[in-house]
């Protein structure tokens, strides 16, 4: 109902294969990007950059990482935080031990290391399925955090494994200001989302979904299960690793291994449940929700007469609220916020007709 589709037809497959077939979608996306890259830096203030936008972006990326593995390839994982940790510490060490290696390269390498670790813990996925796989990913979760605290080499012998951000600069441009960190994060996230979108639209993405929906049939059609699953782990690990590096260096600045504990993994799982399993957009929606909801809640509580709910309770309230939301989503809209949007869009495209 918002835009006219008449006359938008493809005469070649490449046109039809485009990520956004409709002109209006492409325009919309470009304006959004323009806004994010140009307008926001002027409009936003430090609080928004450091407390809202950067964590939102990083968590979206982490969500994408897990979504590729769980939402698309159907492999349940509770080890996301571990892979983020690996990415963060690997990036840190590359920066530390390879003097003058460009920041982005270090991040990519960090992601690469995370990918390797992910593959290692993904290896059992050929023989074991479903919950059994949880064991493998939880093993990753606990082992990695243990190893990072235990062996101080990773953190350059700092106390309790704390690491802190290297100077953030790309080709001489200093990015340590909140705006700079925001732009850096944004750029990386946008780039990786482009990659992710391509992946899920490609052969590999289809194979992932095939394995997720019906792995026997997938095997019968000649899809190599192990390769497909391991690639899912590797690529998911890479995305999570980069997300971890961003989390450590553009968001927190300093981080210790326990900043990447099991609860972080849960948080990321919640992002994709609320946002939508098997959806790219969903990661943004879910992340936005996870970031904004606590802020909203505390503001609401602030509105209530003082002393009615003491500060200590807010955390408990939050926990309950999240828990309830998860259940509600699983019952009412298993495909998450993204699905709601999609439904709306489908109906709008046919409005005023019903089908």
């Amino acid at each position: 109902m918002f835009y006219q589709e008449a006359g938008q037809f493809s005469t070649r497959y490449t046109q039809d294969h485009r990520v956004f077939r409709l002109r209006q979608d492409r325009y919309g996306l470009s304006t959004l990007l323009l806004f994010a890259f140009v307008a926001v830096p002027y409009l936003g203030n430090d609080y928004w950059f450091s407390a809202i936008l950067i964590p939102f972006l990083v968590l979206s990326l982490a969500g994408l990482g897990l979504n590729l593995l769980t939402g698309y390839a159907g492999q349940l994982s509770l080890g996301s935080a571990a892979f983020m940790a690996v990415g963060a510490f690997a990036t840190y060490n590359v920066e530390l031990r390879v003097p003058g290696s460009p920041l982005l390269l270090s991040m990519a390498l960090g992601g690469g290391v995370a990918a390797l670790v992910a593959v290692l813990f993904g290896l059992p996925s050929l023989r074991i399925k479903g919950f059994y796989l949880l064991v493998s990913t939880l093993a990753a979760q606990f082992f990695v955090t243990w190893a990072l605290t235990r062996f101080s080499w990773f953190s350059n012998n700092s106390a309790s494994g704390v690491i802190s951000a290297p100077r953030l600069e790309i080709s001489g441009v200093d990015l340590n200001s909140p705006v700079g960190r925001y732009l850096l994060t944004l750029a990386v996230v946008v780039g990786l989302f482009w990659l992710g979108k391509n992946l899920v639209c490609s052969e590999l993405g289809r194979n992932w979904m095939a394995v997720r929906d019906m792995d026997t049939a997938a095997a019968v059609m000649g899809i190599a299960l192990l390769k497909t699953k391991l690639l899912a782990f590797a690529i998911s690990g890479f995305f999570l690793g980069v997300a971890g590096a961003l989390w450590a260096f553009t968001y927190l600045g300093t981080v210790e291994p326990h900043g990447f504990d099991l609860n972080r993994s849960f948080q990321i799982l919640f992002i994709i449940i609320i946002g939508g399993l098997g959806s790219i957009l969903g990661n943004f929606l879910g992340a936005a929700f996870i970031v904004l909801f606590p802020v909203l809640l505390s503001n609401l509580v602030a509105l209530l007469p003082a002393g009615l709910i003491d500060a200590g309770q807010i955390e408990n309230l939050q926990k309950m609220a999240f828990g309830i939301l998860i259940i509600v989503f699983l019952v009412k809209e298993p495909e998450g916020l993204a699905r709601l949007w999609q439904k709306f869009r489908e109906r709008a495209r046919l409005w005023p007709l019903r089908y």
Binding site: V135, S136, I326, L330
Partner: protein, 293 residues
């Protein structure tokens, strides 16, 4: 050598605790096919309720009864709010739902009773006891005995009562069970209530040991590898698995610890479970299903 045995026995007894939590899992998994991540939260909630009541001067038995009723109510609520609406959904979905559930329960428990650590005194002295030249904690033995009794009670419940019969029926084949007029919902409530009871007992024992506090809900993370090794569907498996995990992690801590560093017992069980899986993908006692296509 004696030292080895001490460690081993100590480990085994600690394993009993894991087994207790794992049994709660198995019950629920058998009857409703749900991988109940909230078991840990249930342990926390029951124990916390019990302790807080004690502290408020409620007599022991009454506190026990009240906490038990609380667990039953919880079971009813869960059946209404989670299991019924999610019937016929994929196990993964159900698992994630229990994840949410655990958040709700933990949040609720702490909102209700506060987050501070409560000591719990069950009146069993923890001084070691000389047995065959080995020092063993009385408390551990007591725990082991309780666990044994509990398992006995459960097996009676399952094999000797009508409820138990219908329960096994449901576990075997839900549809058939429905066909012969067994009411799934009721069975689920029952099972979750029983699991809650088991959770309460486990909670008390753990609580008496480490104090009743949030970390209790983390025992669930220990129970997982136990289940993997024992298989999701077998109570005896849960016990054996619990013992294996308990013993091996203690031994690993004592003998491997010095080599590769302390604190390994929170990941060691998983690695162990993983190794098990690669050898026996369905666990020790689990049945391997034939894929029909």
């Amino acid at each position: 050598m004696e030292f080895f045995f001490e460690v081993l026995i100590g480990g085994l007894l600690a394993g009993v605790m894991y087994a207790l939590v794992a049994i709660g899992f198995v019950l629920i998994y058998k009857a409703s096919g749900v991988f109940n991540f909230a078991q840990g939260a249930m342990v926390l909630f029951s124990a916390l309720t019990f302790v807080s009541l004690l502290e408020r001067g409620v007599p022991f038995w009454l506190a026990f009864v009240i906490s038990l009723t609380a667990m039953v109510l919880l079971a009813v609520a869960v059946e209404r709010a989670v299991l019924r609406p999610l019937v016929n959904r994929s196990p993964i979905t159900l698992f994630m739902a229990t994840l949410g559930l655990s958040y709700v329960i933990e949040g609720f428990a702490q909102a209700l009773w506060g987050a501070q650590v409560h000591g719990l005194e069950l009146g069993i002295s923890d001084e070691p006891l000389e047995l065959g030249g080995m020092l063993l904690s009385q408390f551990d033995i007591f725990a082991a005995v309780t666990a044994a009794l509990l398992v006995l009670a459960l097996s009676l419940l399952f094999n000797k009562t009508r409820i138990g019969l219908s329960l096994r029926a449901v576990a075997d084949d839900p549809l058939a069970a429905l066909a012969v007029g067994i009411r799934l919902q009721r069975v689920w409530v029952l099972v979750w209530a029983v699991a809650g009871f088991v959770g309460l007992v486990a909670g008390l024992l753990w609580g008496a040991r480490l104090g009743v506090q949030f970390s209790l809900s983390l025992v669930v993370l220990k129970a997982l590898p136990v289940l993997i090794i024992g298989g999701f569907t077998s109570i005896s498996g849960a016990i054996v698995g619990g013992l294996i995990i308990g013993a091996s992690e203690k031994l690993a801590e004592v003998y491997l610890g010095p080599v590769i560093g302390g604190g390994i017992e929170n990941w060691f069980p998983y690695v162990l479970a993983l190794l098990f899986l690669l050898v026996r993908p369905a666990g020790l006692f689990g049945e391997r299903a034939i894929e029909r296509v």
